[in-house]
Symmetry: none
Subunit: 211 residues, 4 copies
DNA sequence: AATGAATGAGACTTCATTCAT
DNA sequence: AATGAATGAAGTCTCATTCAT
């Protein structure tokens, strides 16, 4: 009956299942980031959300499911952002700059998610692990594709292996989850610009005598 | 066979404290790498080493102590290698190439240590955490120092912040622990060469028209 | 049978939290008395109560908490009994007799509690120890107050220090937990009467020549 | 050969087994008093004595043996002191005063022993427990005998049961191990005098009107 | 939708004791 | 006389999960 009130259902006594679920997710997000997956107990998650274990198990089948959902949120956002980039321009140099930019801005936006994504991967089991890993691979394949494309089109040097270059570029960006702080001196846009410049043009001053 | 080499101490039936300790360390090393610190139980460590829990606690005060020792081995090796590099040459370009090279070769040499170093940092407590963090900072300060020096001496571009460049370079190298496999197509020397080239000279082909 | 008495809560198949908790307390009470706090394991407590370790830790945070609860039950009962005594009469001789009487009857009533109270005090930590110690002090202050009052009012001799007399009197009563047996020849009322007489009037036969 | 040097044997390199043994006993004495028998580990005992576990087990068969030795030292001293008292006078009033005096002075002299004697009795097993308990009974029988004798000789009142009176007197004295502090306002001689007076002559002022 | 009592496996750690040297 | 490596049992406590309501 209450279903007629358009999507935002309401339960008789003010129950708000969606809100409960969100509370739990946010609680888990903070705790997984701060103490790790193994280091966080269901008890802590529900306590911080002012809920009970029963509520938790009403919304999630297992603790791992929460982890999987956190990882999904992030990786899906990445994939969506990458799709946009690929549609916006065909120039590999532009695409590469954009990939770097998006990598860094989403680290800022999803800091907890990213930290958990990289640190707690291990705790995803079989099928869920495979699913996330596959999406992660898609992201990396995209970086690699852009580089390969740049080489083919003559923009990027041929003497570097595209896979190695990809790993280097991805590592450079991903590592930011370890040190980036929103209150730091540089914003993510500026960091992205510097990273792109370093990778595309190199640290060396062009004119300086080589060794 | 090794009996001719005059072993310092002999115990009946193979009491060999040093060997016991080493067995435990190696067992822990493998397991921490494979299943994480929290995911590894003392039981598993001793079972794999064919020893007992009592033996473990005779040699280590806590599980954390083993973790600390693993981290120490790696970071000390890093510091020693860096010292050598700094003594071998004063040219920031050479130094930077060497830092990259050492970072990658030691990831190959200490793969388990490095994985544990980056993934299980959290589980070190107060003083031990501080100790390792301080040494890790020394390493990073060294990278930063070389870059700053290169800028001052006119070898490296001035329009990049040395701290950002350092984070990028360190991330690029450190990330390798996530993907490097000894059986892969490239050795660490070659990977290091490509990383150095990318960072020093850039991906872009010099002549190609810019966007 | 007891079902007619409208039990507040009903659980399936006998979920009765209050009863579970009580079982555990009673089990611990017996075991702590018989084997001491350190000598009693959680395993023994739950086995004797036909429950599981999990159930124990659902109801109590630590083993120490059970100890604290046992001590509290006794000391609170003491304080309440003393309050009654102080309200019932103002004559220090009456009050003293009553204090002795209550000390002994409550040793009979709370034999296990008292034994644990005196033998396992050590195992209470910081704040809980302080709380119990403070209440114990209140009890002793009360004995001391009555004696001091008796001296001031001219009923009790002045040549004895009230603190020493208090210690003596309290020790005499408290010690009973070591030897009192309900099946013994004398009941607590009679023992109390004899103790009061001994302390108030002395062992000596008034007329007998002194040494 | 070294045995000719009269009882105080000396080992070649300065070994002093007797001193080692004594160190261990003293270490155990302090620790048992402070933390209880169960709360003290062999490790702590030997650490505090700057020795090793091997040394401990060279001198004592078990931890319990140390406990037994501590209890023996005290109870033997009690028995010896009581023997002296019984030989010195036949007057039950004198004897009683002396028993009280000795009880208190030996609490001062053997504070740790006494604390352990009363608190850790439980940890003595079968035969050793029986031995100590028997000696303890001898001491109590002695108190009881003196009281009974006093009643028979007409010095002590007949309306009190000698066993109850004994328990009261013994408790009064023994309890002092719980509160006596050498730095306190009264010495043991004075405390003993007051206890004897209280028990023999009573707290009440003879002339005061009775209730 | 949510509760919270209960489970049972397993975690880390401690410890008295043994024994070859 | 003394060492210290090793054992193995046991201890306290945590935790993800289940389930009747």
């Amino acid at each position: 009956m209450a279903e007629a009130t358009a999507r935002r259902r309401r339960w008789p006594d003010g129950y708000q299942p969606e809100a409960t679920r969100t509370s739990l997710m946010e609680s888990a997000l903070k705790l997984f980031q701060a103490k790790g997956f193994d280091g966080t107990s269901i008890r802590e998650i529900v306590d911080q959300a002012n809920l009970t274990k029963g509520a938790f198990y009403h919304h999630f089948a297992t603790k791992e499911e929460v982890l999987w959902e956190i990882q999904s949120v992030y990786i899906e956002a990445q994939l969506a952002a990458i799709d946009e980039i690929m549609e916006a321009s065909e120039d590999p140099r532009v695409r590469l700059r954009e990939l770097v930019r998006v990598s860094l801005t989403s680290i800022a936006k999803y800091h907890a998610h990213v930290t958990i994504f990289y640190q707690e991967r291990r705790h995803l089991n079989g099928p869920r692990f495979a699913e996330i890993a596959a999406k992660r691979d898609q992201v990396e394949q995209c970086f690699a594709g852009v580089i390969r494309d740049g080489v083919e089109k003559g923009f990027f040097r041929e003497d570097l292996d595209p896979r190695i270059a990809t790993f280097g570029l991805v590592g450079m960006c991903a590592w930011a989850y370890q040190w980036y702080r929103p209150e730091g001196a540089f914003g993510t846009e500026e960091i992205a610009r510097q990273f792109s410049t370093m990778v595309l043009d190199g640290l060396s001053v062009p004119g300086a005598d080589s060794d």
